[in-house]
């Protein structure tokens, strides 16, 4: 008996009970669709977050600071430094950072220098932070993949890089972007040309001796005034909804030497002033370090802690994040598996019903020389066909449902996070695997009915009317 003959006989049998075949296939479709959608959701969520983190080098970046901060009692640090001198703070200056740069595990290390500012563009303004980057950062994400504009050409180039997220917060859309994150009214649409290479006004606060009131200092305002610096925009980063560890969406990035062009009162460390420490000792508050590979993270962290520095890294939490994703995957898969189990019971039920209905027919087939194997194969092919149809419909339905759910989720969450996310990762591989799985599981579900059909006694079957 040829495979094609078995397929024709099986197809013929299924066609005899079209409605039952459709309903059983629908049951499989619901099971497979749910399972595929759940897996794609788990993959989408974990992939989305992981991708964003990887793109922004979060897993390889860490920040070290010389100061320990007790969030419960911010004043505790200072008092302890006065009362106990046995553990001195490590000064973060150029020579210390140069030393860190020499470590073989370190890709780049630079001090975090920032200035508070208000930025103005096309009549819109936003509170932001001016952050300095070394020219070497051009080789690392997110600066290595700037799609609009370019990175800095020199460390003293008087230009800035802003993010798409910052523009959105200023309610500015560029290049005909649609407002898919719900910016609300008063949105300004600008062509890319009118943003790139155009001037960004940076308003900073500077010390103004003219405003000092020595006669009655309590009455007067702070001796500060606004200083406006205009710098051209070199590029726009499309860094999504997540920060890159050290840079976030409301930062204006500026070359490390060019930051000196922007005057700003330095309120970096009131404690340092009060402690009477010199500028050369404690030049920087913190340093950002990127290791060459994620596996170097622990070594570098250990070395930094040995130096007495406080270290923070998101990469450190990678294992916890992975465990959360694994748990999510397991929960979603379990829900899908339950749906699939129900559909398997549907297949078993359908085939057992078919045995009762076709008992005499099976007896006739055996009396005509049909072997147990041939009878089994007919049932397997019937189940495989149900699985195939159910799998295809399930994948198609799951894909449609996931797209609808994704659109809905983006319409709600997109407003909050400022950009669209791919909540479902419904790849072709997942679709093919889901269909194959559907066929395999359906054939597996037919083992018992097929064996029961094959073991029917022809004599007994033919006696029945």
């Amino acid at each position: 008996m040829k495979a094609s003959d078995i397929a024709i006989l099986a197809f013929y049998n299924l066609r005899r009970n079209t409605m039952r075949t459709i309903l059983t296939s629908l049951g499989v479709a619901v099971g497979i669709g749910s399972l595929a959608a759940m897996i794609s959701f788990a993959q989408g969520i974990s992939g989305n977050i992981s991708r964003s983190m990887e793109n922004n080098d979060i897993f390889t970046g860490l920040t070290a600071t010389s100061r320990s901060i007790d969030l419960d009692d911010p004043g505790a640090r200072r008092s302890s430094s006065i009362l106990s001198q046995e553990k001195a703070e490590v000064p973060l200056n150029d020579s210390v950072i140069d030393g860190i740069r020499e470590w073989k595990e370190v890709a780049i290390a630079f001090p975090i220098v920032s200035k508070p500012a208000t930025v103005q563009l096309a009549g819109r303004s936003l509170r932001a932070s001016l952050k300095a980057v070394p020219i070497e950062m051009g080789e690392f994400p997110p600066f290595s993949n700037i799609t609009r504009g370019r990175f800095f050409e020199s460390a003293d180039e008087p230009r800035v890089i802003i993010s798409r997220q910052m523009l959105q917060q200023m309610k500015i859309l560029i290049d005909g972007e649609s407002d898919n994150v719900g910016l609300g009214g008063d949105v300004l649409s600008l062509p890319l040309d009118s943003v790139l290479d155009k001037e960004l006004k940076i308003v900073t606060r500077v010390f103004d001796p003219d405003k000092l009131n020595f006669i009655n200092p309590r009455k007067g305002e702070l001796p500060l005034s606004n200083e406006v610096t205009s710098l051209r925009i070199a590029g726009i980063i499309d860094n999504g909804a997540f920060s890159s560890g050290v840079f976030n969406g409301t930062d204006v990035v500026i070359p490390s030497l060019a930051i000196d062009y922007v005057p700003c009162i330095d309120l970096r460390s009131i404690y340092d002033i009060m402690d009477g420490k010199s500028d050369s000792q404690h030049k920087y508050g913190s340093v950002h370090i990127r290791v060459k590979e994620h596996r170097n993270l622990k070594t570098v962290k250990f070395k930094l802690e040995e130096m007495g520095l406080q270290v923070f890294s998101v990469g450190d939490k990678l294992e916890d994040i992975e465990n959360i994703f694994l748990m999510l995957d397991s929960i979603f898969a379990a829900v899908g598996v339950i749906a699939l189990l129900v559909s398997i019971l549907g297949i078993v039920n359908t085939l057992i019903m078919a045995i009762y209905e076709r008992r005499k027919e099976i007896g006739i087939m055996k009396s005509l020389g049909g072997t147990q194997f041939q009878i089994k194969m007919i049932f397997y092919v019937e189940a495989a066909f149900i699985g195939l149809v159910g799998g295809i419909c399930g994948v198609a339905g799951g894909k449609l449902a996931s797209q609808a759910a994704s659109s809905f989720a983006n319409s709600q969450i997109g407003k909050i996070i400022g950009c669209d996310l791919e909540f479902f990762d419904f790849s072709w591989t997942l679709a093919v695997v889901a269909i194959l799985f559907s066929v395999i599981i359906s054939v597996a579900a037919s083992f018992y009915p097929a064996n029961r059909a094959a073991s029917i006694d022809p004599l007994d079957a033919l006696r029945r009317e």
Partner: protein, 231 residues
């Protein structure tokens, strides 16, 4: 050597604690090309004997040798081969698959025997034509008369060119005229194509008239074997 040799065949079953003999010490031979009738009253063991000869039942003592091989000791796979190529079965209630057309019913054994697909249609048409049913090929069993349905069953039994046709009361559900037609058909295949026919019937007169050998059964035992060299 006889085509079929039944030796010391016994079949028993239990009803409560009582051992019932369905067949007791059955011995007879069937030569190639013979028309053999098994006659007897209801419950005499005719159909039980035929089912053992057809390999539908193997739970018996003694032996049923076909071509020198005891079919009672055959494996399930060997029995399938035996039912496929050596014997063709005809039943009182026709046992056609009601949801398939006449030609599809005839093609079914050809599918199981891996008969070439392109020749199946021709073979099935040829058989139906020989049965005078060419114009009924696409009819379902429910659209056929009893005689026509039994002729389709005969065509199906002949599909794989078996050596032996086993007919279990083939005329039991038919009127006299149609019964005569069916018996004539079987006779024709026996004489023209030298197909061995073993027929179970309770019609002693017809059996004696058409058969080379008539085996009379009563309570599972052979009472008498009569022969007729020129049926």
């Amino acid at each position: 050597m006889a085509l079929l040799k039944v030796s010391n065949l016994c079949k028993t079953y239990y009803k409560g604690e009582n051992k019932i003999y369905a067949l007791r010490n059955i011995n007879f031979d069937v030569e190639e090309g013979e028309f053999v009738s098994i006659v007897g009253k209801s419950g005499s063991g005719k159909s039980t004997l035929l089912n053992l000869l057809g390999g539908m039942d193997t739970s018996a003592e003694g032996s049923v040798c076909v071509g020198g091989i005891n079919i009672l000791t055959m494996s399930e796979k060997q029995l399938s081969q035996y039912r496929k190529f050596t014997v063709g079965m005809i039943f009182q209630s026709f046992n056609l698959i009601p949801t398939r057309t006449a030609i599809d019913n005839v093609k079914l054994p050809l599918i199981f025997s891996n008969y070439p697909r392109r020749l199946r249609e021709t073979r099935a048409c040829e058989l139906l034509y020989n049965m005078g049913l060419y114009n009924r090929a696409l009819h379902y069993p429910s659209e056929l008369s009893g005689g026509e349905a039994q002729r389709v069953a005969i065509a199906r039994a002949l599909a794989n060119k078996p050596k032996i046709i086993l007919a279990d009361e083939p005329t039991g559900n038919l009127d006299t005229a149609t019964s005569a037609e069916i018996i004539s058909l079987l006779q024709m295949f026996n004489k023209k194509h030298h197909i061995t026919i073993i027929m179970v019937t309770h019609d002693k007169e017809t059996a004696g008239r058409v058969s080379h050998k008539t085996v009379l059964l009563s309570d599972g035992e052979i009472i008498k074997i009569t022969t007729n060299p020129n049926p």
